[in-house]
């Protein structure tokens, strides 16, 4: 019975929750902007529509281009098995936090090589920015994990992100939350690092890498991106939210995810995109916050 619940929860998290989360972010932005906004499940409808379309493959490309979307989505789904949504994750072992971070690196590796396979200078530009930013975001993420692992005495996501019993006030946790939030925004190409709604290729990071993908390939990429955002939001929620009495683990997770969506939407509504040369400064700040949090833990 428990396995069945876990499998059902995993399927929901892998398939539907990511799109609800994105829909809530978009609803928040619309509300702040005084618009009504698209339906909550709009991105899911987009993905379904794309799955029904054909595809155009550039004559410059090879199998590398077609490898990107499928391996990227498969790696993100594998990362999802390590994340504790409501209760325990599907797969847990000591050290799975490192695997979680490196599975995203695998997704990045294939996305970047697929983009370079097109020979487009715009996609090269996006790839260059992507690897530059994430090579700074990765230390921030892993140092945050190290700090949490030191607190929890375990390097497994299930142990590190067990819900706090009360509202945490320890300075190191505050720093970890801040650092994790910046990494979440940077890794998922949200404002102030990248604008998901921009229409100018010269300013894009993630969107410009997938310009040539269409049809089912684009559907896999969009779904993978939504899932990645959800996974990191789940971790953030588990770090901040104590179990709300009366809601249980699942209700708390759902409430927390709604809160995370609103927070992301508010950041996007109130901030402008940073100049590209200033993005590394933001990321270095997040590395410093993570390192400082770790130092506080080492006392």
């Amino acid at each position: 019975m428990e396995t069945l619940t876990a499998a059902a929860a995993f399927a929901a998290m892998a398939l539907v929750v990511p799109h609800v989360l994105l829909g809530l972010v978009n609803k928040t932005k619309a509300a702040v902007g005084g618009r009504r906004g698209p339906p909550v499940l709009q991105t899911l409808y987009d993905v379904r529509k794309l799955l029904g379309k054909g595809a155009v493959y550039s004559t410059t490309t090879t199998w590398m281009f077609r490898l990107g979307p499928v391996v990227g989505l498969a790696a993100t789904l594998a990362a999802a098995t390590l994340v504790p949504l409501g209760a325990v994750p599907l797969v847990a072992f000591e050290g799975d936090a490192i695997l979680f971070a490196y599975l995203f690196a695998l997704a990045r590796f294939v996305t970047v090589t697929a983009a370079l396979d097109t020979g487009s200078s715009f996609e090269g530009m996006g790839s260059s920015r992507e690897v530059a930013f994430s090579s700074l975001a990765e230390p921030a993420l892993i140092l945050t994990f190290a700090s949490l692992a030191h607190q929890a005495g375990s390097l497994s996501l299930g142990g590190m992100f067990s819900p706090p019993t009360g509202v945490h006030s320890a300075a190191s946790t505050v720093l970890a939350v801040g650092s994790l939030f910046i990494v979440l925004l940077a890794e998922n190409s949200r404002l102030p690092v990248d604008d998901p709604n921009t229409h100018l290729e010269l300013t894009m990071v993630h969107e410009v890498m997938v310009l040539d993908h269409g049809g089912p390939d684009l559907a896999f990429i969009l779904h993978g991106a939504a899932l990645k955002l959800t996974l990191m939001a789940v971790l953030l929620v588990r770090l901040v939210m104590p179990v709300v009495p009366g809601l249980g683990a699942w209700g708390t997770a759902a409430l927390g995810l709604c809160g995370a969506a609103v927070a992301i939407g508010l950041v996007e509504s109130t901030m402008a995109r940073l100049r590209l040369v200033h993005v590394p400064q933001l990321l270095v700040a997040s590395v410093c916050a993570a390192a400082f949090g770790l130092l506080l833990n080492l006392r």
Binding site: G54, A55, V56, Y57, S58, T59, T60, T61, T62, R66, V71, A74, A75, A78, V91, F93, E94, G95, D96, I98, L99, A101, Y102, L103, A105, L106, R108, F109, V112, T113, D117, G119, S120, F122, E123, G124, M125, S128, V131, A132, S134, S135, A137, E138, L141, I142, L143, A146, A149, H150, G153, L155, L211, D212, G215, P216, F220, A291, L294, L298
Partner: protein, 652 residues
Amino acid sequence: MLTVCVSALLAGAAASALLGRRPAAAAAASLSGLALGCAAGLAAALGFAGPSAVDAAWPLPMGRLALSLDGLSSLFLFAVLAVCLAAGVYGEGYLRRSPGLAGSRSVRPLFLTLTAALAVVVCAGNAILFLFAWEVMALASFFLIMAEDEHAATRRAGLLYMVCTHTATLALFLLFALLARSTGTLDFAGIRAALPSGGRLPSAALALGFIGFGMKAGLAPLHIWLQEAHPAAPSHVSAVLSGVVIKVGIYGFMRLVWMLGAVPESWAWAFILAGAVSGVGGVLFALAQHDLKRLLAYHSVENIGIIALGLGLGCLGLSHRRVDLAVVGFSGAALHTLNHALFKSLLFLGSGVFAQELGTRDIEAGGGLLKRMPWTSAFSLVAAAAISGVPPFNGFISEWLVYMAAASARAPGEVGFGAAAVGALALIGGLALACFTKAYGALCLGQPRTEAARGARDPGPAMLVPMGALAAACVLIGLWPGPAVALAGRAAAVVCGVSPEAAARALAAPAAGAALIGRLGAGVLALAALLALWRSRLVVGRAAAGPTWGCGFPLTGAGAQYTASSFAQPLARAFAPVLATQAHAAAPAGYWPRAASYATHTPDRVLDGMLLPAGAGASFSLTWVKARLHSRLQYYMLLVSLCLLSLLFWKL
């Protein structure tokens, strides 16, 4: 079996030297010697051949012909012979295709001599034999680096290598003299048994070992010969240099730690610091290179840094008497040594083919090679992913083990080490991914940028099969890490001085985790295959071909592609104070500009930035003094009397 291995290799070397005038016969002799020797040695290393120790008298003072195989030697012997076998088979095809080397009579015998010397170095049980084989190895690799000595850059690299390797040997002579003075023997086992514990001896020995072995391994700031020698050597020799010759330095460290038995805590710090500097510095300088083999050489510095982080954590475990930490740290270092030997030699073998086809080592001259050279590019992709440390390849497994060692340094007084190692590893991982997507993208993806790239073709199966075997090993260890982790665990058991069973117990949890990682990796591959199958069903009959979307911009030729330098620019800019890249720009001028150029050059910070200017300064000032001295007799006499006076005061 060890005797068979070494004598077959040496017999092959002699036969190919004698048959030098007839290349076909020499090739056959060297290949059969290599195959027989490596088969015998690999069987011994994997334990299929029973115990195979050799112990004979040798007329050199304090010397004995002692060869033995324990867990540590087995791991390194396996890496040495596997890489040398692949590189040697590939080398035959490579020599035939290189105009400058096809008639060479010395490369084959020297290559086999190098292989034999490497095998003896990692199995030697006596310091005299060790140093003898070490010198044979150094000289054989010197002559191999100088194989194409008609180029000035090659001669410069050879000289630099000669100076560095002999500085290292000098430090090793001092090291073993020191150990012999306090123990009275030069047998490794005897030194280990008779070494007095405590005192200043371990620190002095480790300092000398740090210079001697660190110079060979390429640990920053002693790495100065790597980025010059690796590009100069023929590619199959570069593969052996980077894959195994520098690893002998790591073997030396581990054997020294085994002899000392205990390590002062300060040396754990030194290893972690040197590892972090090597790792981050190596990958940053690799990012700024355009020469493929120079880029790969800097990545060797980076990976030696990762290995040194593992060694440092292992030493920390030894000094704090934490067997679990020591075993996991040394296992991570040992496994990364093996993994790096596999994927880095594969990358160098691939780079040789690319350089032959393009006529240059400049990655900007490539482009679109995945279409034109599908096999070489696919094998190089496996190696590039493995060295970037992404799952499901072998590089991730060993980096993960080092992470696990860092995470288990939890007691007060240890966490600082662990945190430093974790931070360095995370930064190295992200930057390595950036560097290899840059190099691979510029070479193999997109459109060909030159005529040579347009006409590039895969070489024959004689060169492809060794590369394929190495690539298969990288995937196999990534998906099924159990046996490799166990091999590394046995090596770590020797270094820590515990029984293999105790080491296996300490390594049980990480080994189980590694097995799960392998299974998840296989799951990722299977899931990706299913998704690809589904996609092909979805788009059946509706997949069209067209040009790359140029965002409405009409100029989308090969020249408009992003170059490797542009790709690395954001990171090069962020780390500009470290790299000190020099730009040579000629901006377009006037209303109708004709020519404009922009080139960047990133010299080595230690060699070109410090040592060469310091040497030039010393030479200049001494020349000045010499010119003054010889001008008048009085100056000369003044100097003599000053010398005598100072000696007098010193003795008073």
